[in-house]
């Protein structure tokens, strides 16, 4: 089922969407392309939990600068790890990972999100970028390497 790795190194993140404050997908990439629909459904549904978590944390979250929300929406097949960026832009980074890859530690996920976040900032710093979508080869490469490479 799903994106269980059959051979080779287990894929770390399977789907990495970046979601705006309005819950609009700014950017979405996933490795097994055929499952993209399923990922989108899953990530979209997981936003319920993200919203719930953010609202429950409220201001404290902003103060602590703790951007990582942790495992929020495990399913039978995947884990959805949302990372919330709660500064002014309120952009959410989400990562869907394969649960069989338990070798993935929290700090590694932190690091990946950090990279993703930096890449996002780079893209947004471009005065010519379209804030409705991210189309940057740099980000693409970075995300793809994250999805394929073993952490």
């Amino acid at each position: 089922m799903g994106g269980a790795p059959s051979a080779g190194p287990p894929k770390t993140a399977i789907c990495i969407p970046v979601i705006t404050k309005e819950n609009y997908p700014l950017y979405i990439r996933s490795t097994p392309m055929e499952n993209e629909l399923r990922f989108q459904y899953m990530v979209h549904t997981s936003l319920d939990m993200v919203d719930e978590k953010i609202s429950s944390m409220g201001k404290a979250l902003v103060n602590q600068r703790e951007l990582y929300l942790g495992l929020l929406y495990p399913t039978e097949d995947y884990k959805v790890l949302p990372h919330n960026y709660t500064t002014i832009s309120k952009v959410k980074f989400v990562m869907v990972v394969n649960p069989s890859n338990t070798a993935l530690r929290d700090n590694e996920i932190h690091r990946m999100f950090w990279k993703l976040h930096n890449s996002y900032i780079d893209v947004m710093c471009n005065p010519f970028c379209n804030p409705r979508t991210i189309s940057s080869p740099g980000t693409d490469n970075m995300v793809m390497s994250m999805m394929i490479q073993v952490c």
Binding site: Q40, T45, E52
Partner: protein, 1202 residues
């Protein structure tokens, strides 16, 4: 607080723990030896031996936890009174056995009596017992834990068994549980859980442990979690026997965790952990590649979910459950999902019901459940019963599935997890679709789609829309289906085939013969095609009545195949604007898009207007000006898309609803048909002939395919075109900045035909102005332009002139064209007017103008000519004024040399042009005989350059007595220097003037002589000035005035002389003026001597000598006047006003000499002074100089700088 329960068991050697004991619960923590012996003999005989034996056994088992209790009875004691206290049994025992641990021997005195002593001994005993028991417990527990850890460290060794270790650690957990340390107990299970999970993960990574293979046996039983018993002994034993499967182990572990969590009052953690466990188990089985019959796991998960939920419900009240839905809803959702997949697996969802294969599978699944457990056998709603029932029939499944789904959706909705609710709803919709109940499915699909649309998730939108399309097709909602199909056909997330399919669906429907011919299906256009841009031709989107307007639009077809469209229609709204200024050509150049192209913003296709992303404000500056004087009335900022921003939010989400599209039926439409829209951009051109003047606004765009109409309800931004009607107009303007009089000048005629068509024979009738000629040239041509300044033709212009009227026949031109032609006009110099003014030319009005302008500088004199023109389109005449400027300014002067006279004429060119002057004449108009004007000008041709002057001189000669005044006319031919040859002869430029009193009457001669005996004048020394005034003629007409006195036929006149030195070179000593009586006869001479002193050295000009006519007052008082009093007469200045030649020196002298003007004589009759006209006095010594040398003792050189 520790709660320790202990059992008292009779000592048996077999009960003592052997080496490697793993049991803690049954562990003998404290051994107690009870004796009643009080007799030394008895002690020695039996008790001592027995005790020794007991102690040896304990030692052999290395047990150091023991206690000896001696029960004393007073009654017995009394019998042995002789016994010494030091040899008491207690002492003996202490001596024998407790050599160092005296506290291990306790005496219990009279345990059955109620005395203080008894009480004391009991207390001491119990304290001791508790202390020792706890000591032992602590020691043994610590040892157990150490052993356990040692065992765990050996887990890498071959032959290590997880089950064995499990039992050991669980023993510890039991102990903690027994001690009511549930938290610690839970930690033990959690450690086991984590250890096991780690092994599974390692196994998955290829690092397998042997023992794990036990757990990899195929799953044969899937009867779910059992949480109703504190300890599931059955499963525990299977673990002990190392026969447990992975599910057994996990189930057992979780049931223990669940029990402990419930003890800890943490039911919600149970729910959360349950979900994790279920996911985890599924994953672990997958990872370990355990063979699982299809559906078995679904059964297990379903049962487990319900079991957990029921267990939690069992220990919480309703309110608690309701407020903690967030924790449990995941399990509900999971159970729903599993039941659904079971239903699909067992053929319970298919239309025809399960087939035999499905039934077999169902039987197998039910078999794996085993028999229902006794503890739930009496519960009506047990998970087991539910599952069994649900799988028993199609109807039962439906009931259970719907119950679960609805409950889940309700719960999700109640806690605000709308997305999750919609997702479950979508599953439900799928189910309904399978059950052929599309009417029930639709609402769920719509709900989900709305949710996805609001947040712009492209793939779910496409997928849900596809499902919705199917649903709508089944429901027969044709419009909705077609609309969804059009959206899908334009959806790039679908494959080409799918898109073609949906496109074909629309085309198929459109081509069906409709039973109701007039019926239209109106769909929104966005999904079908998009309006990209619009281009007007003419590009300013303004056309005159009857003109042709082209509108070219670019439609971007979203369809995957070419679509044949019967017609494309633009509905146009017509409005008549009162402000006709908007229709004029001037307005057009200022407004409108520069190139006539209107771009439409691309549709933000899958992303509708969500609450948070309203369109950007479109703000514009607004100025409202007063119509009369164009002054600013109000200014502000207006928002042009208020209607977008302030619309109700709900309506924005009804994107899928075709009901919002209304076809506007307008009288004005632009049509284009038929068109085939290729995928991608298509150019479509509309042509229209403008009819009524006004503003036309493009409102709607419709494309019809059969009975399907795709409508773009609003064209935004607003696109308009204007139709105008224009009155015919005539403009006449000079080609140059200003027209010059006297030479041919070009004037441009512009006829704007407007709505009038110039027919053959139409002409402009110009009523001729008197002094302006219209020069007809044979080759003049008229150009005809269209309104957009494109030249359409040119034609020769026929001009016919009569003496009153010039008729210009216009070339034939259609309406809304412009005819342009040029004419040459010549302003004749107007009739010369006489006057004392030296330079006067033109009409009376121009004269005034000229005078005004002269103050500011050299401006040309202008002449206005009014021409009235009769136009063929109007019964009224158009009056046009043309202003011509005279290029020259002329002045004249009379020059004298003794009695010889000269007339000088100065012509100044004020224009920018260079001219050639020729044939200058000066004639005496009064035609006096004996008067001759001899020209001294050598050249007959003379150029006069721009801003320069030319002088002409004539000598005046006469043979008879000259007339007192002379009327002259100066005329000079002129032509522009640049032009080679003019077709017509130009009138010469004339200038008339009058010269009066030009005959010289007096000669004034002044001479300065050095003092006697000196050769030169010296500064500071008085010199003599001799003025000689000589009459040159006899009595003439001009002498006949008041000053003339006659005595004895000798005439004399009174003159006043005045010596003025303006340059302060001379100091006049004594009287500087005086009145003399001059005989009026030729050669009459008057000599005046004066003393003057030179103030400077050098060649000094002589002081001026002036002559005035001294006119007596009319009355007889003249004799009373003394010689000096007249000087202070003001009338001197009054009389001078008629003086043409400004005599600055005389004015100045008045100021300097007569500064002491007093008013005491005012009112008295005074003689008057009249300057002699310049022509009558000739100063023969003007210009002469006298050499003055400095005085000898003058060492100082004065330099005055002024």
């Amino acid at each position: 607080m520790i709660h320790l329960e202990s059992n008292f068991v009779q000592f048996k050697e077999e009960l003592l723990p052997k080496e490697g004991n793993k049991a803690l619960l049954t562990f003998p923590f404290l051994h107690i030896y009870w004796t009643e012996c009080c007799d030394t003999e008895v002690y020695k005989a039996t008790v001592k031996d027995d005790l020794t034996k007991w102690q040896n056994v304990l030692k052999a088992h290395s047990s150091v936890d023991w206690l000896i209790v001696i029960v004393e009875n007073d009654a017995k004691k009394k019998n042995k009174t002789n016994i010494l206290p030091r040899t008491s049994i207690v002492d003996k025992i202490r001596n024998d056995f407790c050599n160092k641990q005296s506290d291990r021997c306790v005496v219990l005195s009279d345990p059955l009596k109620d005395s203080s002593r008894t009480q004391e001994s009991w207390n001491a005993f119990l304290t001791k017992l508790r202390t020792l028991l706890l000591m032992s417990f602590t020691k043994n527990l610590g040892k157990f834990e150490d052993d356990m850890r040692t065992l765990r460290e050996k887990r890498t060794e071959p032959g290590w068994s997880f089950c064995e270790y499990f039992m050991v650690q669980e023993e510890l957990a039991f102990v903690f549980e027994m001690l009511q340390q549930f938290e610690d107990a839970l930690v033990q299970y959690d450690e086991l859980d984590a250890l096991f999970s780690q092994y599974v993960v390692n196994f998955g990574a290829g690092d397998g442990a042997n023992w794990l293979t036990f757990f990899c046996q195929p799953v044969k039983s899937w009867n779910g979690l059992i949480l109703r018993k504190p300890i599931d002994m059955e499963k525990r034993e299977s673990i002990q026997r190392r026969e447990a499967t992975l599910l057994d182990l996990r189930s057992y572990l979780f049931s223990r965790q669940c029990t402990l969590l419930l003890f800890l009052q943490r039911p919600w953690e149970v729910a959360q952990r349950a979900l994790e466990l279920l996911h985890n188990c599924v994953q672990e089985l997958k990872l370990l590649e355990v063979s699982v019959p299809p559906g078995a796991l679904d059964c297990w998960v379903f049962l487990s979910c319900l079991e957990v939920l029921q267990r939690i419900e069992g220990c919480c009240d309703r309110a608690q459950i309701d407020s903690n839905i967030a924790h449990t809803v995941g399990l509900w959702s999971y159970a729903t999902e599993k039941l659904k997949s079971l239903g699909y697996l067992c053929g319970l969802v298919s239309e025809k019901g399960p087939n035999s294969e499905d039934l077999n599978r169902t039987v197998d699944l039910l078999a794996g459940l085993g028999a229902e457990r006794p503890e739930t056998a009496n519960t009506a709603q047990s998970p087991y019963k539910k599952l069994k029932e649900a799988l028993s029939s199609v109807e039962a499944f439906e009931k259970h599935y719907l119950d679960l789904s609805h409950a889940t959706i309700e719960m999700y909705t109640s806690i605000g997890r709308i997305r999750s609710a919609k997702f479950v709803g979508k599953d439900l919709a799928e189910f309904y679709m399978r059950k052929k109940a599309p009417q029930k499915a639709e609402i769920y699909l719509q709900g989900a789609l709305k949710n996805y649309l609001a947040e712009g998730w492209a793939l779910p939108i496409t997928h849900t829309r596809k499902q919705l399309a199917e649903c709508q097709k089944h429901l027969g909602q044709i419009e909705n289906y077609l609309q969804t199909s059009s959206l899908l056909a334009s959806d790039h997330h679908l494959t080409e085939e799918e898109r073609k399919h949906f496109c074909q669906e629309i085309l198929d429907f459109a081509s069906q013969p409709s039973d109701n011919p007039g019926h239209k299906i109106v769909l929104p256009m966005q999904s079908f095609a998009q309006l990209r841009d619009l281009h007007f031709d003419p590009s300013n989107a303004v056309v005159h009545v009857g003109g042709v307007l082209c509108i070219e639009i670019t439609m971007y077809s979203q369809m995957p195949v070419p679509v044949h469209v019967e017609q494309i229609v633009v509905n146009v709204h017509f409005s008549i604007e009162k402000n006709s200024y908007r229709k004029t050509a001037e307005w057009l150049t200022k407004h409108k898009t520069s190139n006539g192209i209107v771009n439409f913003p691309p549709e933000t296709a899958p992303f509708p207007v969500s609450q948070n992303s309203l369109p950007a404000l479109e703000l514009y500056e607004m100025f409202e000006r007063s119509p009369s004087d164009n002054s600013l009335n109000t200014t502000g900022i207006i928002c042009r898309n208020v209607h977008m921003l302030l619309r109700r939010q709900e309506s924005s989400s009804s994107l899928e609803m075709p009901s919002g599209v209304a076809l506007e039926e307008g009288a004005h439409v632009l049509r284009c048909s038929p068109v085939t829209l290729e995928p991608g951009a298509n150019q479509i051109t509309f042509r229209t002939q403008a009819k009524e003047p006004g503003t036309y606004t493009l409102r709607q765009l419709c494309a019809s395919v059969g009975s399907v109409w795709f409508v773009l309800p609003h064209i935004y931004p607003i696109v308009q075109y204007d139709v105008y009607s224009q009155e015919p107009q005539l403009h006449v303007e000079p080609l140059a900045d200003s027209l010059l009089a006297g030479i041919p000048q070009k004037v441009k005629f512009t006829v704007t035909t407007g709505h009038y068509t110039i027919k053959n024979g139409d002409s402009l009738q110009l009523s001729n102005a008197e002094a302006m000629l219209i020069l007809c040239q044979a080759e003049s041509r008229a150009m005809v332009y269209s309104n957009t300044r494109e030249q359409s033709s040119d034609a020769a212009l026929r001009i016919q002139s009569s003496d009153k009227v010039t008729s210009i026949s216009l070339p034939v031109a259609p309406a809304y064209h412009v005819i342009e032609f040029e004419l040459e006009v010549l302003s004749l110099p107007s009739a010369p007017a006489l006057g004392g003014e030296s330079d006067m030319l033109g009409m009376a009005e121009s004269h005034r103008k000229h005078k005004d302008k002269q103050k500011t500088g050299h401006c040309m004199v202008t002449t206005d000519h009014k021409v009235s023109i009769d136009c063929p389109w109007s019964i009224y005449s158009t009056v046009i004024a043309l202003t011509f400027s005279v290029p020259f300014r002329t002045t004249h002067a009379l020059l004298s040399s003794g009695t010889r006279k000269y007339v000088q004429v100065c012509v100044q060119n004020l224009s920018e042009l260079d001219f050639q002057l020729s044939d200058s004449y000066l004639v005496d108009t009064s035609d006096s005989t004996g008067l001759q004007l001899v020209p001294l000008n050598t050249q007959s041709q003379q150029p006069i350059y721009s801003k320069q002057s030319v002088f002409f001189v004539w000598e005046l000669k006469w043979t008879e007595e000259p007339p007192p005044s002379l009327h002259c006319r100066f005329s000079v031919g002129f032509s522009p220097a640049s032009e080679e040859q003019l077709s017509i002869s130009l009138k010469p430029y004339t200038y008339e003037f009058k010269v009066e009193n030009f005959f010289t009457l007096y000669n004034v001669k002044a001479e300065i002589f050095p003092p006697s005996g000196m050769e030169y004048c010296r500064t500071g020394s008085l010199c003599s000035l001799e003025v000689l005034i000589t009459r040159l003629s006899d009595l003439l007409e001009v002498d006949k005035d008041e000053a003339l006195t006659e005595s004895d036929e000798h005439f004399s006149t009174k003159l006043m002389y005045e010596v003025v030195d303006n340059s302060s070179n001379w100091a006049v000593c004594g009287k500087s003026c005086g009145v003399i009586s001059m005989p009026v006869a030729a050669r009459a001479t008057h000599r005046v001597h004066m003393e003057v002193m030179p103030l400077f050295a050098g060649y000094l000009p002589l002081p001026d000598v002036r002559l005035f006519k001294y006119l007596p007052h009319h009355s007889a008082h003249s004799s009373q006047l003394d010689a000096d009093s007249w000087i202070e007469n003001d009338s001197l200045s009054v009389d001078k006003h008629g003086d043409d030649q400004p005599d600055s020196s005389s004015l100045k002298s008045r100021g300097s000499v007569h500064s002491a003007c007093s008013s005491e004589h005012k009112g008295l009759p005074m003689p008057r002074l009249q300057a002699l006209p310049a022509g009558q006095v000739f100063n023969s010594s003007s210009g002469t100089q006298v050499l003055v040398i400095p005085s000898q003792d003058d060492h100082v050189l004065e330099v005055s700088v002024t």
